[in-house]
Amino acid sequence: MNFPPPPGVVTVPIRLNRPDEVKSSIDNLEAKLVNVKRGIEELLLSLDAQDKVSWPAFTTKCSSLASDLSTLQANLRKSLLMNSNEDNGEFIKNQLILPHTISPDVNPKLMALTENRVPVWNHETAPSFLRTKLSPTIEGEIAEVERDLQNINTSKNDYVKRITFLNRSLDNICSAVAEQMNQNKPSNKAKQPMFKNDETEMLVRGIYGGENILKGSNTAQRR
């Protein structure tokens, strides 16, 4: 017996509490996600397109992506509603999503909705998209980061020890240099005279006035 293909998304006619708000919040979410998706696409395209991507361009893309994600996060805290208070997402948390049909067949409507990325809504895709806990790999990474954070606080002693060690070596070097300098100084006990003032005068007078220089004799004797 051929079952009709299950629909893409089913809106169950259950009386919803505040249906308009739910719809608007989901539209909001969709819009923000489109921005994020576009950002990621741009990033990947730029990497694929050229061999060498300019680093500043790359970082600007990453930063705009990060700002989109952070706006998304801020909006989630407000439950994606335009004019509500920050309820830490209580409102949308309280909305229930239940998987309606799980089938191993390829669902064309789902494919159309998701741009051919999710072909089936089966026992693998459904839990993966509906998960509420982080995937194990990510959980492991976060745990590691938190452990490093703890270590930093406790391992402050290492840094302090290193700093004192370096300070001590610097002091040793400084005292060695000062010692060397002092060693050389006492060799000229009294400051050695470098010049004699009288000689300056005599030399100048000699050059400009001919003092102390033997007077030249008759020019005829020259050469």
Binding site: M194, F195, E199, T200, M202, L203, Y208, G216, R222
Partner: protein, 222 residues
């Protein structure tokens, strides 16, 4: 006043800053001396402070006097490179220091330079009427620091007149003479002599530059 141009090595070092138009220069000069054994230190110091190019020179200078009827004799200095044939002579007249009103940090005087090409200088000076007063040989180095010229040299006198080979040269005293000269522009003596003094003070305590009045000559009768 022209900026001293790059040195033409065929000229004697002191001709470096001769301006082409005006041969007369007002210059500020300070003198110092340093004992022979410490000259090396001074050279190292100057090499560090001054411009990278410096030159050694060995020159023979003869000073002639033009006897005027009145007043002191006019002394004209003729210098040539000792290594070359004596055809190129640098001729210089050094004036008396201008009166100091207490605002000059160095001796300021007029100085006139010229170059003489002559195969036989003695004939030339004899025909002008100059008489040889004294002569000496100067051997040393010249440094520049911008417009400031610093000469460090030792004077030798010759025992036998006419021969200037190393054996006949007798050193005069035991020190090298250090001479620092700066040309003065716009007759602004105080400003340029201050520049010179500031530079010369950097060389303390190796040498101590002073204003030395060379005009008072106590002529020792021979």
């Amino acid at each position: 006043m022209q900026v001293p141009e790059l040195m033409n090595t065929s000229d004697a070092p002191i001709t470096r800053s001769i301006p082409s138009g005006n041969h007369q220069v007002l210059e500020a000069v300070l003198h110092a001396s340093i004992l022979d054994e410490h000259v090396g230190h001074l050279y190292e110091r100057l090499r560090g402070v001054c411009d990278p190019v410096f030159n050694s020179f060995e020159e023979h200078e003869m000073v002639f006097a033009l006897k005027t009827g009145e007043g002191p004799d006019i002394l004209v200095h003729f210098r040539r490179k000792l290594s070359q044939e004596p055809t190129l002579w640098h001729c210089r007249y050094v004036g008396t220091p201008i009166p100091d009103n207490g605002n000059l940090f160095a001796i300021c005087r007029q100085s006139t330079d010229s170059i003489v090409y002559s195969k036989d200088l003695m004939e030339f000076v004899k025909s002008i009427g100059l008489r040889l007063e004294y002569e000496f040989v100067a051997r040393g180095k010249v440094f520049t620091f911008g417009p400031i010229k610093i000469l460090v040299f030792k004077t030798f006198t010759t025992e036998k007149i006419g021969t200037y080979s190393k054996d006949n040269l007798k050193p005069l005293l035991e020190s090298h003479l250090v001479e620092a000269i700066i040309p003065i522009e716009n007759e602004d003596g105080p400003k340029y002599s201050k520049q010179l003094k500031d530079f010369c003070d950097q060389l303390a305590p190796l040498v101590h530059f002073r204003k030395i009045d060379y005009t008072q000559r106590a002529r020792v009768p021979y």
